[in-house]
């Protein structure tokens, strides 16, 4: 498993496509609380965590027990950790849950990359 994090518009998916030779059909773009692990790459995990928050589900618990499914996955999550604490409780929880998920995934990932202006910083 590989985790790629970074701010909005930084080129995380472009980096993943180039580094891991992914085609468009290899990419699953998160929209709700379910993830299709049959695709090699799972993009926009921050949308998955937002959907989980809205559905009152635990995004980390979703991954527990699915280790086999995502053993070879390339997971991409937007870094939303650095702004002012959001006024909205939902966005506050979203921010926390996204951070918690990234920590969990990073611990279990073989490689963690942070993308800054299209360039990789290897964190693990």
């Amino acid at each position: 498993m590989v985790l790629i994090i970074g701010g909005a518009w930084q080129g995380k998916l472009d980096f993943a496509k180039e580094t891991y030779s992914l085609a468009e059909e290899d990419v699953f773009t998160c929209q709700g609380v379910e993830i299709d692990f049959s695709r090699r790459c799972v993009d926009r995990l921050e949308e998955f965590t937002l959907a989980c928050v809205q559905a009152e589900k635990d995004p980390v618990a979703y991954f527990v027990g699915r280790e086999e499914l995502c053993r070879n996955s390339i997971l991409i999550c937007g870094d939303i950790s650095c702004g002012v604490v959001p006024m909205s409780a939902e966005l506050r929880l979203w921010r926390n849950e996204t951070g918690r998920l990234c920590q969990y995934l990073a611990k279990n990932a073989a490689r963690v990359s942070r993308i800054f202006c299209g360039l990789e910083q290897r964190l693990k």
Binding site: G6, A8, Q10, G11, G83, V84, P86, L119
Partner: protein, 178 residues
């Protein structure tokens, strides 16, 4: 040498950029490309503070808040250029005359790439505005996307790419002169 520097607010970007621009000039001409178009007293104060910061460093100021390539015929391209910041330049390009120019990010990225490739030494400063948990309105998101386009283009064409954090350098690409 061309250097791209980004990072959070008050992380030491401008200080490093000034220092580098002077060192790269190696006694030759060094220019401060002033991108901010002041609209109020707060802006003018900010400019006065920055001017005071640069006092004694020998920069020649070139005012250019828009159309960045237009300043090249007023300067010696063998000199060293400090452009602080891409953020202000894009602001001026995108929000001109009370309208929103959706092509500004693309144009700004293209022009800045030509700019850094036209001069001997350049240090370009931008701002990291991409890591917060906010849902922005369409216009703000267009600006964020546009600046990211500028940043990624500069990160590709510049020799050295640095993120500043608490005055420390995280080097993503290239290196710095001794």
């Amino acid at each position: 040498m061309t250097v791209f520097i980004s990072g959070g607010a008050k992380s030491g970007k401008s200080g490093l950029a000034q220092d580098l621009a002077v060192r790269l000039a190696d006694g030759g001409a060094h220019y401060y490309v002033a991108t901010m178009i002041p609209v109020d007293e707060e802006d003018r104060d900010r400019i006065r503070r920055h001017v005071a910061d640069r006092d004694g460093l020998g920069f020649q100021t070139v005012e250019c808040g828009r159309d960045i390539l237009s300043c090249l015929d007023r300067v010696d391209c063998n000199g060293s250029f400090l452009l602080d910041s891409a953020t202000a330049l894009l602001m001026n390009e995108m929000f001109h005359d009370g309208t929103v120019d959706e092509q500004a990010g693309e144009r700004c990225a293209r022009e800045l790439a030509v700019f850094v490739q036209s001069v001997k030494n350049a240090v370009i400063v931008s701002d990291g505005i991409y890591c917060d948990a906010a849902r922005y309105d369409e216009v703000t998101e267009l600006y964020r996307k546009g600046l990211a386009r500028v940043d990624r283009t500069l990160a590709r064409v510049c020799d050295t790419v640095i993120e500043m954090a608490a005055g420390q350098q995280i080097i993503y690409k290239g290196g710095l002169p001794e």
